[in-house]
């Protein structure tokens, strides 16, 4: 009779292999160089952190109505505090800011509904890209349903930054995908149009496009025919980032093996079916880091609208720095701006990492 094979029982790992002690040993003290780097880093932190906390928290002034209140050696957060509403909404009438908040809350709720499995994602997406913007438009600009009209020149602050960023992102993404497909198309005319568009836009700085949008276009338009400056700037931003988006997505399209195109063709799928069901889902997944990179860049680039006289978040802070009541608070303003931008961009990059993990479907073999 054959000898029966019994696997030996598993033993718990030694404390040097798992747990906090092992983590420290492995990550901080694994080699002499590593030990030196760890000690050096601790020293740098020791030099930096305590003074920062002293400046930013312990000795900081939190309330006050001018820079005279800031007598301590720490940060003058009273400046941020007193200007907070303008930083958030620009010159949006303060009794109407609930409309902005409401639109934002509705958007967050709608997006959060993606987490509910029972709701059809396709219809939810439709709701977000079709009726929602109309609702948001009426909430923001008023003039209907008994809402007081607020002209777009008064929109500003973080509200304007988010508005430009979100619309730029949402509109440039599908446009970029179309341009990328067009550039790889077999149709000479479509291809030429896409190549010329992408190469022209990429060769021009965003500032130039914004200037064109705000100053030049009105000169060329006949008298009486003129449309909103915010809209013109938005179109400029969307066109600009869609060219970059197109090239990122094209990179993804090129990474898809020819066999995927052939398999889709051999099944009798039409061009648009094979692109939307087979090729784009895979290509977009591959270039999520590049897409998010472009989004983050776009979000920060929106601050250039300052140049054409629109006061976005950073623009509003810079303008407030010139307030004679608050001279000497430039650093606080920029630190606050840096922190808010960082929070948004870090959030986006974390989201992209989570998305990549979620879409991972096992080993990529073909």
């Amino acid at each position: 009779m054959a000898i029966e094979f019994k696997p030996s029982p598993s033993l718990p790992p030694p404390s040097t292999a798992v747990g906090p002690v092992a983590w420290v040993r492995h990550n901080l003290l694994s080699s002499p160089l590593n030990i030196i780097l760890t000690i050096f880093s601790l020293y740098i932190l020791y030099l930096l952190i305590p003074p920062l906390i002293e400046w930013g928290v312990i000795n900081a002034t939190w309330t006050g109505s001018s820079n005279k209140a800031c007598t301590g050696s720490g940060a003058c957060w009273a400046f941020i505090n007193s200007y907070f509403e303008q930083f958030m909404y620009g010159f949006y009438p303060s009794d109407q800011t609930w409309r902005v908040n409401l639109a934002l809350v509705i958007l967050v709720l709608l997006v959060a509904m993606f987490a509910i499995k029972k709701i059809n994602r396709f219809y939810l997406t439709l709701v977000i890209i079709l009726p929602y913007p109309i609702l948001a438009y009426y909430l923001f600009s008023g003039g209907a349903f008994g809402l007081e009209p607020v002209e777009t020149a008064k929109w500003g602050g973080l509200f304007l930054t988010i508005l430009l960023g979100v619309i730029g992102i949402v509109a440039s993404f599908p446009l970029g995908a179309l341009l990328a497909l067009g550039r790889r198309s077999n149709m000479p005319v479509a291809k030429a149009v896409c190549v010329i568009f992408i190469e022209t836009i990429r060769a021009v700085p965003l500032i130039t496009i914004l200037f064109m949008a705000s100053v030049m276009i009105p000169l060329f338009l006949p008298d009486g025919l003129n449309f909103n400056k915010l809209l013109r700037v938005l179109i400029g931003i969307v066109l600009f980032s869609s060219a970059y988006m197109a090239e990122v997505i094209r990179g993804g399209l090129q990474a898809i093996p020819k066999g995927q195109y052939e398999a889709a063709d051999a099944m009798g799928l039409t061009y648009w079916q094979s692109m939307s069901l087979i090729i784009l889902p895979q290509a977009l997944k591959l270039v999520i880091p590049g897409i998010v990179n472009t989004f983050i860049g776009l979000f920060k680039d929106t601050t250039l609208v300052y140049i054409v006289g629109m006061f976005d978040f950073l623009g509003r802070i810079q303008a407030a720095n010139h307030d004679t009541n608050w001279l000497g608070t430039t650093v606080e303003g920029y630190v606050f701006a840096a922190f808010v931008y960082w929070a948004f961009c870090f959030g986006m990059s974390r989201y992209s990492m989570a998305l990549e993990r979620k879409l991972e479907t096992g080993h990529k073999r073909n």
């Binding site: 066999g259 099944m267 799928l269 079916q273």
Partner: protein, 259 residues
């Protein structure tokens, strides 16, 4: 469409070939890949195409569903001439299933979704019906228990069987196999060939590019040998293997059979 119906009726009576090549020529740039291909395949026939690499056998097979375009001559499939008419190409592709060397499953879709995609989007079948159909074919290739996995989680042999089932889900009249076992480990070749043999026994019209001579001997109605873009010899397997006419065929057979 009446022309096509007439052609189809003739087809059913076995009067007309289901696939016909007439003086087909194809070039890749300057390179002449297919030279004067004249060949026809009847309904229910099993054709094995063999030959050295670069001989044009894959290209010829891929011309049947127009994954490759030919530049001269006429290819007729199922009574429809293959030309630039997109409608015709789509019609043919619905009726012609294809299995590739590298499987070409869609890695972002589950096995079940891979199978139901074409029935749902091309045949406009309700989702539930398509899923039942898919499970039926998955059972036939003995892989129904993997339906909810992704292609990346399956072995090569399993993936290729899924690919065959995916082709069958469109309930095609013709199945094309482009070196279906060339990318597989020796152990897995058998499980794929078994599925193909069963399919052949059921009377499916098959065109199979392969180096599996055992498969050719047992299953093929005719074996086609190609070299340098031409059909050198086409014959019943018995004759082809025991009594090859051309010295080129003899050389090829001696090289692949004696190793």
């Amino acid at each position: 469409m009446t022309d096509r119906n007439m052609a189809l009726a003739q087809l059913e009576q076995g009067e007309q070939a289901i696939i016909e090549f007439k003086d087909v020529n194809k070039w890749y740039g300057e390179f002449h890949v297919l030279k004067n291909i004249n060949f026809s395949i009847k309904k229910g026939e099993r054709i094995v195409v063999c030959g050295p690499s670069g001989s044009g056998k894959s290209t010829m097979t891929r011309c049947i569903n127009r994954l490759e375009e030919h530049q001269k001559g006429i290819i007729t499939v199922d009574g429809i001439e293959m030309n630039n008419n997109l409608k015709n190409i789509e019609t043919i592709r619905k009726d012609v299933g294809m299995v590739f060397q590298h499987f070409n499953l869609f890695p972002h879709l589950s096995i079940l979704e891979n199978l139901t995609l074409a029935p749902i989007w091309v045949r406009k079948m309700p989702k539930k019906e398509a899923e039942e159909l898919a499970m039926h074919y998955l059972e036939r290739v003995k892989i129904a228990n993997q339906a909810l996995k992704y292609p990346g989680q399956l072995s090569g042999g399993q993936q290729q069987r899924v690919a065959i089932a995916r082709g069958l889900c469109m309930q095609p009249r013709i199945m094309l196999f482009d070196e279906p076992t060339s990318a597989l480990d020796p152990e897995m070749i058998k499980e794929v060939l078994d599925v193909m043999v069963k399919l052949a026994e059921e009377g499916m019209t098959m065109v199979c590019v392969t180096h599996e001579m055992g498969f050719a001997k047992t299953v093929a109605d005719r074996v086609v040998f190609m070299d340098a873009g031409e059909i050198v010899e086409a014959n019943e397997p018995q004759e082809f293997f025991n009594n090859p006419q051309h010295d080129r065929t003899q050389l090829f057979l001696s090289q692949i059979l004696n190793h």
